[in-house]
């Protein structure tokens, strides 16, 4: 990704889902100045539910191909079924688009030229205005693949927005997990903030994303949400993180305000900036900002 040296990008990730990435990013959107927002969780994009973007630009996302057998040309010789490693062609010579990997091997070898290979429309990309600043976001089609490519394109749009408007910060909401879309989300980032929770699962999943950030040599920070649900586990996680050289940015208490704000389509800062959770998030943001 081509980036101006002065544009910084923070990605919020977690490994484990449901630890509060999007609510936290929404709160940062209320606190940070001069920024572009980016939702890179294209598989289950939720940031728009809080920020209610006014869509200004739409772009169809096309990537990859699916094989389609033309029954008028097909002689049912069976070569395609023999070559397909993805069991995508039925005994009636119909391609299952779910199983089709888009490798084109059947298309290439079909002696009758009976297999078409149209490009797939996998999703849509948006550039929007929100009350907290411009935003790049996307929607991956249901049951589609190529999420990594869409993530990369969405981040690219966010970067273009930052350049065009001379904004120095991109705040990106990342996906859960560890593989393709996560790797596409964090590649080349200035830093990642890992949001975890004080559970054995949260700990286990954080360990793996810390390793991932190290693998790609991206500075990582950690914060613990709902810390008071298990203070002992919170301490264990903090010790582990410091041991791994990952600075701990703070703790956020369990607070129903997260759900209440979400229901009202507000960030927790907008909903109640004096709540304990909002105060904790403000401190975390100040610490993160000073380290970017």
């Amino acid at each position: 990704m081509q980036k101006k040296a002065n544009i910084k990008e923070l990605i919020v990730i977690s490994g484990k889902g449901g630890t509060g990435k999007t609510s936290l990013l929404g709160a940062f959107a209320s606190l940070a100045k001069d920024k572009v927002l980016c939702d890179a969780d294209v598989d289950a994009a939720d940031l728009y539910l809080i920020l209610e973007p006014d869509i200004k630009e739409r772009q169809v996302f096309q990537e990859g191909h699916t094989a389609e057998i033309d029954p008028d040309k097909c002689t049912e010789c069976g070569l395609c079924r023999k070559l397909c490693r993805f069991h995508a062609i039925s005994s009636e010579f119909i391609v299952d688009p779910i199983n089709c990997e888009g490798c084109g091997v059947c298309v290439y070898f079909c002696p009758e030229d009976a297999i078409n290979f149209p490009i797939k429309t996998c999703g849509e990309l948006f550039v929007s205005e929100t009350r907290c600043g411009p935003m790049a976001h996307a929607r991956l089609g249901i049951a589609e693949d190529n999420s990594g490519k869409l993530v990369t394109l969405t981040r690219k749009r966010a970067n273009e927005l930052a350049q065009k408007r001379d904004l120095s910060l991109i705040l990106t909401d990342g996906p859960p997990g560890l593989a393709c879309p996560v790797i596409a989300s964090i590649a080349g980032a200035t830093g990642v903030l890992i949001v975890t929770e004080p559970t054995l699962s949260g700990h286990h999943d954080m360990d793996r994303v810390v390793e991932l950030a190290n693998h790609f040599q991206i500075p990582a920070f950690v914060c613990i949400n709902k810390y008071d649900l298990n203070v002992e586990m919170t301490e264990t996680i903090e010790v582990y993180a410091r041991d791994k050289g990952v600075p701990v940015m703070g703790r956020i208490p369990f607070d129903p305000i997260f759900t209440k704000a979400m229901v009202e389509k507000q960030t927790i800062i907008e909903y109640d900036s004096s709540s304990r959770a909002s105060q904790a998030v403000k401190e975390i943001w100040e610490r993160v900002e000073s380290r970017l």
Binding site: G17, A44, R85, I98, A143, G177, T199, L200, V263
Partner: protein, 280 residues
Amino acid sequence: MIISIASGKGGTGKTTIATNLAVALGSDVNLLDCDVEEPNDHIFIQPKITRTEKVSLKVPQVDMNKCSLCGKCQEICQFQAIVVVGKTTLTFPELCHSCGGCMEVCPENAITEIDREMGIFEAGTSNGVTFAYGRLFVGQVMAVPVIERVRAAVQPNKVNIIDAPPGTSCPVISSVKDTDFLILVTEPTPFGLNDLKLAVGMVKILNIPHGIVINRSDLGDDKVMEYANEENIPILMEIPFDRQIAETYSKGKLLVKELPEWKERFIHLYEDVVKYAKKS
């Protein structure tokens, strides 16, 4: 029978449902954790692992003594995983989908396949339940080959319970396709509802009978309930927010063991699943 558990949104309680359902039923159950990016089931059921295998993908290796640099491999590859550069043919194993096209097309028979390791598959037992899971190596992009290895551990004569990753894209599809019933776990919040709708869209494409479990059912609003009624999707179970449940989970313990009243509820859940699976 194969029951899969998915959610759209992460962190709604898939692992809680999968592990507690498996242990509540006890015998003749096979639990498969297909969330190979962030597997958690093993934390709760503490299996005794009896088998460990590497999971690998076949990727091309070019014998440059035979290669004539014709470029046919590059032409057939849809993933830019093999290219001819100057006087050599380079492969990019991390981009390879293992379709075998390059090997098939090569006129010189210069391409063979070698194994590229992507993760680990482990199987074992716990509390009379057989268990298997996969673990993708950190830094690997493709989760599906490891998921498929776990799916291959389905045992036809048992109740198979599959814990899927969050989302609605390829890793979820490979985890839940060709299953008999899908339990969608959600929470009654705007994010929960949004992602539930995506998951229902996926289940409809895959044509799998399904029902909903609402977790932390008292934190949020009524919109998930309204949606389920409109769509005529059965609500199979509601789990209220309860500090005791949250603490049990945080310590990696099972509800059906720590809070015994839950055992009966999970057995009921299974009976409902069987009933709804038969209906459709």
